[in-house]
Amino acid sequence: MATGDDAARGTAVLAIGSSDDVVRVRQEVRSRAVAAGLGIVDQTKIVTAASELARNTLIHGGGGTVRVESVSQGVRRGVRLTFEDHGPGIPDINQALKDGFTTGGGLGLGLGGSKRLSNEFEIDSAPGRGTRVTIARWK
């Protein structure tokens, strides 16, 4: 569900509150990636990373939002995603990024995996302050 969409269609903010929303995030990211001219492999990577992070926002953050931006830098074009939640936050980010570490019963590969699937990865979190993850994939 798009709660905001500016005139240039550069930015969309989607709410993440259910597993249906995760599907919607994937679809939005895929169409942005196609529009930015990303190849099929890059499309799949950013969509998969978005899926992981959206599910983290839902399961660990108790729901939140994602801002989907079509970005350009000179001739380069890409997609940037910012996931935000006001959940409990991550006490130890390095541990959370380690493969196989999980608190939610998953495989423990989502956060580290989405870092490897992105060109840019930034995470900002502290206990009680929620979590913000920003990733980007460039053509």
Binding site: V41, Q43, V47, G110
Partner: protein, 308 residues
């Protein structure tokens, strides 16, 4: 005051009921209510007459408060009309028009009472026009509320259809097919959320028992995104099948999915093949069969049949 006003209103409706009904019907017909062919004029007439009768009863007993128990029957009929329209594929506008097109005939009927009073002279006209203004407002409020009620029921009917279709899709899109004696295939399509995976797993495991299958091929050509959750679901399904003595082969992993899974760090501890055909060949080899080219059609046909 309201009692007084609605008493007049009920009287107006009762006096002009036939005119209101025919005007209301004509308005709906000219508005295109019958164009889609989903409803016959006789049926529409019956719906209108029933609703108008009950509305009049409601006005007589319950004033203009749509929440009053006197309007219960009217709302039931309205809900029934809206629900059936939702099921029949009417648009929201067409459904709402049923109630809202009643406004004009009602206002016209109220105006006629002023005109009647005009014959009696000054004081009567003033009193009648004041009453009419109040009644008009009451009718508007009442019909707006009933219109919203109709929309609520309409949306609910539509949502029920969507929910039912969702359930149907989740069943339809997880068929387990038999490829050969002891070889099953499960072509997965779409999103593997937890609910779907449950259905998939159950039907696969049950079919393994029913068919005494040795090998199950899970084909994910139709799965657009394989993330860690999907991978985990797949691994669990494979593990459960293994406990039942069946081996799984995962097929249909496209190049971009393979690269993404490597970056994610997901390891599928299972035989995997690029296409369903390759997986089928592996499965046949494992059960000691092979597909060979028949030397010549006429001579070889019975031989090939016997080889099986």
């Amino acid at each position: 005051m309201a009692q007084n006003g609605s008493g007049g209103l009920a009287q107006t409706v009762a006096e002009h009921q036939d005119e209101i009904l025919s005007e209301w019907l004509a308005l709906q017909v000219s508005g295109g209510a019958l164009q889609s062919g989903r409803i016959k004029e006789a049926e529409l007439r019956t719906q209108c007459r029933t609703f108008l009768d009950l509305l009049r009863d409601g006005l007589e007993q319950g004033g203009t408060d749509p929440e009053a128990p006197a309007f219960g029957r009217a709302k039931e009929v309205l809900a029934e009309v809206s629900r059936s329209r939702g099921m029949q594929g009417f648009t929201p506008t067409e459904t709402a028009a049923f109630v809202f097109s009643l406004k004009r005939p009602m206002f016209n009927a109220l105006n006629r009472t002023i005109e009647a009073a005009a014959g009696e002279g000054g004081g009567a006209v003033r009193a009648a026009s004041a009453a009419t203004a109040r009644d008009t407002w009451d009718v508007t409020l009442l019909l707006d509320q009933l219109g919203l009620h109709a929309m609520e029921v309409f949306m609910k009917a539509r949502e029920d259809i969507i929910a039912r279709q969702g359930r149907e899709i989740s069943e339809l899109s997880t068929p387990v097919v038999k490829l050969w004696d002891g070889v099953l295939a499960l072509p997965l399509i779409g999103t593997l959320d937890s609910e779907r995976t449950q259905v998939v797993m159950e039907s696969l495991l049950q079919t393994i028992v029913d068919q005494s299958a040795e090998i199950a091929i899970i084909d994910i050509t139709g799965v657009p995104t394989v993330d860690t959750l999907t991978a985990q679901h797949l691994l669990k399904t494979v593990a459960a099948a293994r406990l039942m003595g069946a081996d799984c082969i995962v097929s249909g992993i496209r190049p971009q999915i393979a690269q993404t899974m490597v970056h994610l760090g997901v390891e599928l501890d299972v035989t995997s093949k690029a296409t369903l055909a390759d997986a089928f060949r592996v499965a046949l080899t494992r059960i000691g069969r092979a597909v060979v080219k028949a030397p010549r059609a006429e001579a070889a046909a019975p031989v090939a049949a016997r080889r099986r």
